[in-house]
């Protein structure tokens, strides 16, 4: 049974050469972040070159999936038809990952809108809005 915080209609992945490693890792339910092979600097969004040492060599390196909420907003007025049809509100969060120290946009599941706080510890959960399409979301964890 597919399960997703937000409707599958808004999940239309179009990986390219640069991003396919991220999504392949997600399909295995492992969160991996682009990392420079030479100087080990993590980066997100994916880029061809390392902002630190300009090397073109990179890999998608597994991370713990633990982080904290850096910021959040609650959408009361969705702009996509599928989200309007879903009704209600939904949250969007910026998660700062503990080990890679990069920021990811995602949603929090398992928490009411009004209980979301900045600096709240979170961890990755995997959702499969449609068969074979796996995306990371986050849920609160004990600090």
């Amino acid at each position: 049974m597919s399960q997703s915080y937000l409707p599958a209609e808004i999940v239309n992945l179009n990986p390219d050469d640069l991003t396919e490693g991220y999504w392949e890792s997600c399909a295995r339910r492992v969160l991996s972040i682009q990392q420079c092979v030479q100087c080990k600097t993590f980066r997100h969004l994916p880029k061809p070159t390392c902002p630190n040492c300009q090397s073109f060599d990179y890999e998608y390196a597994p991370v713990s999936g633990k982080g904290t909420v850096y910021s959040y907003t609650i959408a009361h007025h969705p702009v996509h038809p599928a989200l309007r049809e879903r009704g209600g509100t939904y949250n969007m969060v910026v998660v700062k990952l503990d080990d890679a120290q990069v920021k990811l946009v995602s949603n929090l599941v398992g928490v009411a809108d009004e209980d979301i706080r900045i600096d709240m510890p979170v961890e990755v959960v995997w959702e499969e809005p449609r068969p074979g399409v796996v995306i990371p979301r986050f849920r609160p964890r004990a600090g």
Binding site: N14, H77, N107
Partner: protein
């Protein structure tokens, strides 16, 4: 070598203001041409004198505009990268630099908006892949599945973080909206002129927490244009010149496309991304924030006005909310009168054209909320993907 004081804005032109999608038979080109012709008339020059064309986020390039105006020669053309109103002052700066460098003599800087039915900026990332104005689909994969599809949502995230770090409140956001509405009520051309009380603000519907409807700008159709010439030539024209004292453009490299992806580094996340622009601008002008008489700050959202007040040094980091709540933005008694036309929030949303024009009006002494003896006006383009931009006009 610098462009400081070498050129001036000598003509301003704005079309009528239309609700989004309601400019009727007027095309985007019609609107741009109308604004340019009005600016020429204001300056007292013939349109055929225009030999330079500069714009930002606008497909109406010189190959389309010059023949329509009958301009005999195109000697300079320029389009600034970036989104929304970010590149507005950079387009002015390019005009000033081109004149100073000897490329051309008379530059029209213009920008128009005419949104096709069914498409609007507020839904820019909800459009199907491949439509004009969307970011690359592979990049969008990192935000769209999470419902992050609207500029208001993106800036709400930034402002929420500012609230967390500094204690900024929605009362402070309301103060921005209410002050600008008061200014709009003094401006007969403004589209939103009903009084706004604090209750009105809180009764406006929540869109993207903490932003309510009244934290959002309008979406409109129309166009604006200005004419830039050398300072020497400006002295012989009809209007009091608004000298271009300094221009800065760009932003932190790490800001990049960050607005849509929220990947800004921590040190600049809860800002408008204008810190380095302010530094460069004041350095070129040889003035500081205390010297600025009036500020026309790009206001797609209330909170970003607060963050710009901080970036430009009118107060310390985190101090903008209380400062504005105490009346700092007011045209008559404020410490730094801001958005005296009513801004994008209450006058009209034509990206940054109206902020440029209002800056010039303040220098001329013709604003509907005229700051007494205004000598220096700060004008900014929108916090946006790099480049954004800003300038100081001098009387």
């Amino acid at each position: 070598m610098s462009i400081k004081d070498k050129t001036a804005i000598v003509g301003i032109g704005l079309t009528d203001y239309y609700k989004r999608g309601q400019s009727g038979v007027k095309s985007h080109l019609d609107l741009c041409l109308e604004a340019i012709l009005k600016a020429c008339a204001d300056a007292g020059i013939h349109p055929h004198e225009i030999d330079g064309f500069s714009s930002y986020m606008d497909e109406m390039n010189a190959s389309i505009v010059a023949p329509a105006l009958g301009c005999p020669e195109v000697r300079f053309s320029n389009l600034v990268w970036g989104g929304g109103g970010g590149g507005s002052c950079a387009a002015i700066g390019a005009a000033a630099a081109a004149i100073e460098a000897g490329y051309c003599d008379t530059v029209a800087v213009y920008h128009g908006i005419r949104q096709p039915p069914g498409l609007r900026f507020g839904e820019v990332f909800a459009r199907p892949p491949g439509n004009a104005g969307t970011i690359s689909t592979a990049s969008r994969d990192f935000v769209a599945p999470y419902g992050l599809m609207a500029p208001g949502q993106m800036f709400a995230l930034i402002v929420r973080r500012h609230m967390h770090q500094y204690g900024t409140t929605t009362d402070h956001l309301a103060a921005v909206a209410m002050t600008q509405r008061e200014h709009a009520r003094r401006n007969p051309k403004a589209l939103r002129r009903d009084p706004m009380t604090l209750d009105d603000y809180y009764n406006s519907r929540m869109i993207s927490d903490p932003f309510r409807l009244f934290d959002y700008c309008n979406e409109n159709d129309g166009a604006g244009a200005v004419i830039v010439v050398s300072a020497e030539r400006a002295k012989d024209l009809k209007q009091k010149p608004a000298y271009i004292m300094a221009v800065a453009q760009g932003g932190a490299g790490g800001w990049g496309q960050s607005i849509s992806q929220q990947t800004m580094p921590d040190d600049i996340y809860p800002t408008a991304g204008h810190g380095q622009l302010a530094r460069d601008l004041y350095r070129m002008a040889g003035v500081g924030p205390g010297d600025i008489d009036v500020a026309e700050l790009y206001d797609h959202f209330t909170g970003m006005v607060l963050l710009q007040l901080e970036d430009y040094g009118f107060c310390g980091k985190g101090e903008s909310g209380p400062m504005v709540a105490e009346g700092a933005m007011r045209w008559d008694t404020g410490k730094i009168p801001t958005n005296t036309h009513g801004g994008n929030l209450s006058e009209v949303y034509l990206h940054a054209t109206t902020h440029i024009v209002e800056g010039v009006r303040q220098i001329r002494g013709t604003s509907t909320s005229q700051v007494k003896d205004a000598e220096l006006a700060l004008v900014t383009g929108g916090p946006s993907p790099v480049p954004s931009s800003s300038m100081i006009l001098r009387g």
